[in-house]
Symmetry: C2
Subunit: 202 residues, 2 copies
DNA sequence: TGACATCTGTCACTTAGTGACATACATCAT
DNA sequence: ATGATGTATGTCACTAAGTGACAGATGTCA
């Protein structure tokens, strides 16, 4: 039983409250009460109310980056996503976090304050991905070309996430795992500015 | 003498104050006083203090998008940037806005609150660019592929902006116009997921 | 002129967010 | 054990960000 990041726990409560009552309808006290903490501690964890959801976004994004980190060099992106992406490879906790994230993303157009947190988590995952790409290509994560590639790939993932989340939550559209995986693989392949999608020399 | 967006005027004052005294060292009253408005009006213009700089970022980004909108179909991106990007094609006002933006971007690592505004303006320019790409390729701006391309291109521009701004302001590095234009063209070409960089059939 | 809409200021008020200090708990050298 | 140090949290007073409600100014149009 590992003790988790307490911020992530707060983040889950904040996300639920934001979804139920909206951001404006949720006070700092509400979040603190739900998390079983004093208000002061919440403000020590987060600079602003909206930022409370950022760890939730980041957690799911970083899990994706961690999956990419285990991507074998001799495997194409399509094969890897097919093999390792999907509900079967996630813990129940990861699944419920993912669902919360998807529902929040679908609300971004109505809740501009949340978009800042969402974009911020993309920035964080961008840095994580730069490290992964750096490893895969034996380059520095600070290298301009590597950062560029990380940024375009994350941008692609973001657009897919927003598209799928909106379609699923707002229009009730159903997707198969294969559809999402192939959309994601196709988008990342098109977006990447460095040859990461096909097997790379070890 | 056209009456401009009053928000942009406030934005310039806010940017200057943030650069001089930092975000934490600038109050809502300071901004209102500098802009010659009541505090109440400032809070009607902007949801938060940090958001005050967003119109400045957006204005410069939208000027870039407007330039791309005039991109002739029979011209490569390298040739077009070479021909139409640079201080000679900007008004003094645009130049001073650009300088403010660059100095703010260089401060993003120290001022996390400003990053939200910066990323938000990227989002806005992304939508503007989607329209431009849609026109260029005779496609809808809502089309997934078009939005994807806009997102990756803006991501590339963002990384170039951040890299150049940081190098210039923090490390005093000098760039020639040719260097910047070619870095930008190369990055956009690599990042774009649709064939926009070379002449396209009318 | 008067009805209506839009923008701005004033001022009281709520709530997001901070500073200062006290308490609890873990670690670790003695 | 004992005490020194560091880190995490709570309490509470306080500042400043942000809102609601109302009033005055200006512009437009019938």
């Amino acid at each position: 039983m590992e003790d988790e990041d307490p911020r992530l726990a707060v983040s889950r409560h904040a996300a639920r409250l934001f979804l139920e009552h909206g951001v404006a309808g949720t006070s700092g006290d509400d979040i603190a009460a739900a998390a079983g903490l004093s208000k002061r501690t919440v403000w020590r964890y987060f600079r602003t109310k909206e930022n409370c959801v950022e760890p939730l976004f980041s957690a799911t994004a970083l899990r994706f980056a961690a999956t990419l980190r285990r991507w074998p060099r001799n495997m194409s992106i399509e094969d890897y996503f097919q093999a390792c992406l999907g509900p079967d490879h996630a813990t129940p906790e990861e699944l419920s976090d993912g669902l919360l994230a998807v529902r929040l993303i679908a609300r971004l157009p109505d809740e501009p304050a949340l978009r800042a947190a969402w974009l911020m988590s993309c920035q964080i995952s961008e840095e994580a991905l730069a490290k992964v790409i750096g490893e895969r290509l034996h380059r520095s994560a600070e290298d301009f070309e590597v950062r560029l590639c990380a940024a375009t790939v994350i941008a692609a993932v973001r657009v897919v996430d927003e598209t799928v989340s909106t379609a699923a939550i707002k229009h009730g559209q159903k997707f198969t795992l294969e559809e999402i995986n192939s959309m994601l693989a196709r988008s990342v392949r098109a977006a990447s500015t460095l040859p990461i999608s096909d097997p790379v020399g070890s």
